[in-house]
């Protein structure tokens, strides 16, 4: 479903991604963990082409983007429609209600009419448990509710792969559960997901594979149980010790 090859990204003279290879099969959930500043956010942003990699390729559902040949704006925009992004800071549109936030992509990009878009958005908001909050503006919602709107908004575009960048790390602890539950349901429905998170329980229960990422490289990957209990690398071990 998702294949990343030799992905490189440099900011100035700081090489943030040093040739990343990654394969995610259809319906798989991959959790990425790693220290702050290791390049996890940059990796997700490159998959969504919010950041332009210097080199490498990303292939999603058979469609490939080669970054060395400088893809055009139109190619990038089309490629972006294959992935959905859930941001750490939610980034909801503040001038639209929850419902309008979810309707926006389908209406503007997919050219659905208002009626179809609304019906779909209502279903999605019900699915993330926000049926009663549809007509509220983001500022009237808690962080957890905003993030669930963010997930519904991404789902509305029917992406092939859903990317999550620390979706719960800006939330009060008591609100984390609701968001994780929505993500777990999605995983059980067979959504292909790449999730950067430090929620170890989520990783254990949901992930097919956990990746330890450090200094722009994948250091170690494996089944969650194996990686958490018998890490092969010292760096992984030290990192796990620090966050537990």
């Amino acid at each position: 479903m998702l294949v990343v090859e030799k992905l490189r990204k440099t900011f100035g003279n700081h090489e943030v991604l040093k040739g990343v290879h990654l394969t995610v099969k259809k319906g798989e959930v991959v959790v990425i963990i790693g220290p702050s500043g290791s390049g996890k956010t940059t990796l997700l942003r490159c998959l969504n082409v919010l950041e332009m990699p210097d080199e490498g390729t990303v292939t999603i559902d058979g469609k490939q983007l080669q970054f060395a040949n400088k893809p055009s704006k139109k190619e990038i925009t089309n490629f972006r429609r294959l992935t959905g992004m859930v941001f750490q800071a939610y980034n909801l549109f503040p001038h639209m209600t929850a419902l309008e936030n979810v309707m926006e992509g389908p209406m503007t990009v997919k050219r659905l009419n208002k009626h179809e878009a609304k019906e779909k958005a209502e279903q999605l908001l019900a699915k993330v448990g926000l049926k009663d909050h549809m007509h509220m503006y983001p500022f009237q919602l808690s962080g957890g509710q905003q993030q669930r709107v963010g997930i519904a908004r991404a789902l509305a575009m029917e992406p092939k792969v859903l990317l999550f960048d620390e979706p719960t790390s800006a939330l009060d602890p008591e609100l984390v559960g609701d968001v994780l539950k929505v993500m777990k349901d999605l995983a059980n429905e067979g959504m292909t997901m790449v999730v950067v998170t430090h929620e170890m329980r989520f990783a254990r229960e949901v992930a097919n594979e956990v990746i330890f990422f450090d200094e722009g490289m994948i250091i170690e990957r494996g089944h969650p149980e194996q990686l958490f209990t018998h890490p092969k690398h010292d760096r992984t071990r030290q990192f796990l010790k620090r966050i537990q």
Binding site: T77, H95, E104, R153
Partner: protein
């Protein structure tokens, strides 16, 4: 005694009889001139702001030069160039169209800076969220950025509009018969300069007072989605 009853009577009469011509000047020229040039100016401003924010160097540079030239020269001089200057190279423009051109260009330059700042004040995350849904630049601007930028720019744009209403008095100097020119014409017949100019000033004040009230309403309506 400062004023004998006879003179007071005369002043009252003049004040009364001049009220209608002044009001006409305001309703037929001052206000329409301000409204029309503001609307044209906003369109110019939007395109100028976008040109300055675009990645095309030529557009950026043209927009910068335009804004710099307009902001760096007096409005009165701009009006004189258009109305008295251009005829010497064969371009003759009537007073009212000349005023419309001059004021629109002027507002366009000032408002473009306001709109540019408003667009830049919208967090990067808003662009990214829109891009991540597959929107292109134009869709993102139209649906996500400009609606939010509009709210940010209402207070400064209202100030621009109020200044514009007052600046229309400069059109009197290129023979547009707006309110202040009417006041000058009447004063020239009866020499009651203080009275007529004060009367005109009061009418400007009343207009601007109402504009400030409207501004407040618009701001409230546009800010319904933010915490107060």
């Amino acid at each position: 005694m400062l004023m004998d009853p006879e003179r007071l009577d005369r002043l009252m009469n003049i004040a009364q009889s001049s009220l209608l011509p002044l009001a006409k000047g305001a309703l037929l020229y001052t206000i329409p001139l301000a409204v029309i040039t503001f609307l044209i100016g906003l369109v110019i401003a939007l395109f100028t702001a976008l040109a300055r924010l675009s990645s095309i160097k030529g557009l950026q540079w043209t927009a910068r030069a335009y804004v710099s030239a307009i902001r760096g020269t007096p409005l009165l001089v701009q009006l004189f160039i258009i109305f008295y200057g251009l005829p010497t190279v064969g371009i003759t423009i009537d007073p009212l169209p000349a005023a419309i051109i001059g004021f629109s260009l002027n507002v366009g330059a000032y408002a473009s800076e306001i709109i540019r700042a408003a667009i830049l004040s919208i967090p990067k995350g808003q662009w990214e969220a829109a891009y991540s849904l597959g929107m292109d630049d134009v869709q993102t601007l139209r649906r996500i950025i400009l609606p939010q930028a509009a709210r940010v720019s209402v207070p400064p744009l209202s100030n621009t509009f109020i200044s514009l209403v007052k600046d229309t008095s400069l059109a009197s100097l290129i023979l547009v018969s707006e309110m202040f020119r009417k006041a000058q014409e009447i004063a020239a017949t009866n020499y009651e300069f203080l009275l007529l100019y004060t009367e005109a000033a009061l009418i400007y004040w009343v207009i601007c007072f109402f504009l400030s009230m409207i501004q407040g309403n618009v701001e409230n309506r546009l800010s319904r989605y933010v915490v107060r």
